[in-house]
Symmetry: C2
C-alpha cells in the first residue's frame, strides 16, 4: 500500500483494489449517466427504466434522484442558487465515489446550471460522464404534473421553481437529447442503452 | 413503478430494482463495517486489507476514509464538534445509499462521538451496521505517527485533536474489538472477515 503525504494532516492511501479491478469484477465500465431537464420532464422514469434493463444484463447500477438525496445527504439544503450549487456539488462527489466503486450510476436532477454540471464533469475522467438532456417545455411538463407543483409555482406558493421563477440553462453539447414531449419513456430508455453500448461501457 | 406522494414537493419512486436484487446479483449481503478509533490506530490499514480479501472472493466493496471524503464530499467541513457531526451525518447518508446499492462498505473514520455513530446505525437495518472498535491508546498511536500530527496536536498547532485536545467515546457494545497495540493488521483483517462470515453477509 502506497502512503502519500499531503500537507493538510490527512493521509492518502492507494488501496489494493482500484476502479479497474472493480470494473473487471462487474464485467462492465463505470460511469454516470447524468439526466438533466425540467421537473416532470421524465428524467427519473427513464433512469429507472434504464436501470431495469442494465440490471437484467447483470450490471451493478444505482439511481440517484430527489428521493434518495434530497431527503438524506442534502436534507439541509434549500432550492436557492447557492444551495442548488452545493446540492449538485455533493451529488457530484458522491457519484465520483460510486464510479470509483465500479458502478453505472444514473442521476435524475433538474441541475439547471451549466456551471454546476460542468463541475461534476470535471471530477470525472473522459468518458465517465454522459450528459442526457431530457427536453420538454415547462408548459408541457406542467400538464403532466399530477401534484400541481407547477400551479403552486405559478401562484408563487413555491418560489425559485425552475422554468417558472428560476432559470434553466440548456446543455450546449449533451451526449444525447431525449425529446420527451414526443418520445415515450421506453423508447428513450432504449436510446440511452444504445449510448451506453456505443461508449463501450457494456457489451 | 409505484409513485408515492410526499408533502414537501419531492416525489418518491419505488424503483424496479431493489437492494435484495442487487445482493442476489453480487451474491453477497450488503452492509457497512464501521471502524472507529484514534488516528493512526490502524483503521484504514485493516479496512483495505479486508477489502482486498473480499474483492478476491468476488465481493463488490468500497472503502471510505479521510482520503476520499475529507477532500471531496466534506471538503467544506472543519474538525469542530458541529462539523464532525455533519461529516459523519453525510458519510452515514452516503453509506446508506452504497448499502442500498448492494455493496459491502468499509469506513475508517475516527468518529469519536457515540451519538454520531448511533445516528448512522439508525439509518440502516438490523445487521447492516457492524461496529469495529480499533482499540489503541493515543500514546501508542503517537509513537506510530510518521507525520508528527500527534506532536503538532500536543504543541497546540493542530487543535481539537481526538485523544489530545478532543474526546473519544469508546463504543459500548461493538460487534468486534481489535487491539491493534498487540494484534497485527493481517490477523485483525482475518477476524473482521470471520465476523462478516458469521453475519452471513458472505459464505
Amino acid at each position: 500500500m502506497d502512503k502519500i503525504s499531503k500537507n493538510n494532516n490527512i493521509t492518502w492511501f492507494n488501496s489494493y483494489v482500484c476502479r479497474e479491478d472493480r470494473e473487471r469484477l462487474h464485467d462492465h465500465g463505470a460511469a454516470v449517466i447524468w439526466f438533466t431537464g425540467f421537473s416532470a420532464s421524465g428524467k427519473s422514469t427513464i433512469a429507472h427504466l434504464v436501470e431495469k434493463e442494465l440490471h437484467s444484463r447483470g450490471c451493478s447500477t444505482y439511481v440517484f434522484d430527489g428521493d434518495n438525496v434530497r431527503h438524506g445527504l442534502c436534507s439541509d439544503l434549500t432550492f436557492r442558487r447557492e444551495d442548488r450549487a452545493e446540492n449538485i456539488r455533493r451529488i457530484g462527489e458522491m457519484v465520483k465515489l460510486f464510479v470509483d466503486a465500479g458502478m453505472i450510476v444514473l442521476t435524475a436532477f433538474i441541475s439547471p446550471y451549466r456551471q454546476d454540471r460542468r463541475k461534476v464533469r470535471s471530477l470525472l475522467k473522459d468518458g465517465q460522464f454522459l450528459e442526457v438532456y431530457v427536453e420538454c417545455s415547462s408548459e408541457v411538463c406542467a400538464t403532466r404534473d399530477q401534484k400541481g407543483i407547477y400551479a403552486k409555482a405559478k401562484a408563487g406558493v413555491i418560489r425559485e421553481f425552475t422554468g417558472i421563477s428560476a432559470p434553466y440553462e440548456v446543455p450546449e453539447n449533451p451526449d444525447l437529447i431525449i425529446r420527451s414531449y414526443k418520445e415515450d419513456a421506453s423508447q428513450a430508455a432504449e436510446r440511452v442503452i444504445r449510448l451506453i453500448e456505443q461508449c463501450k461501457l457494456i457489451r
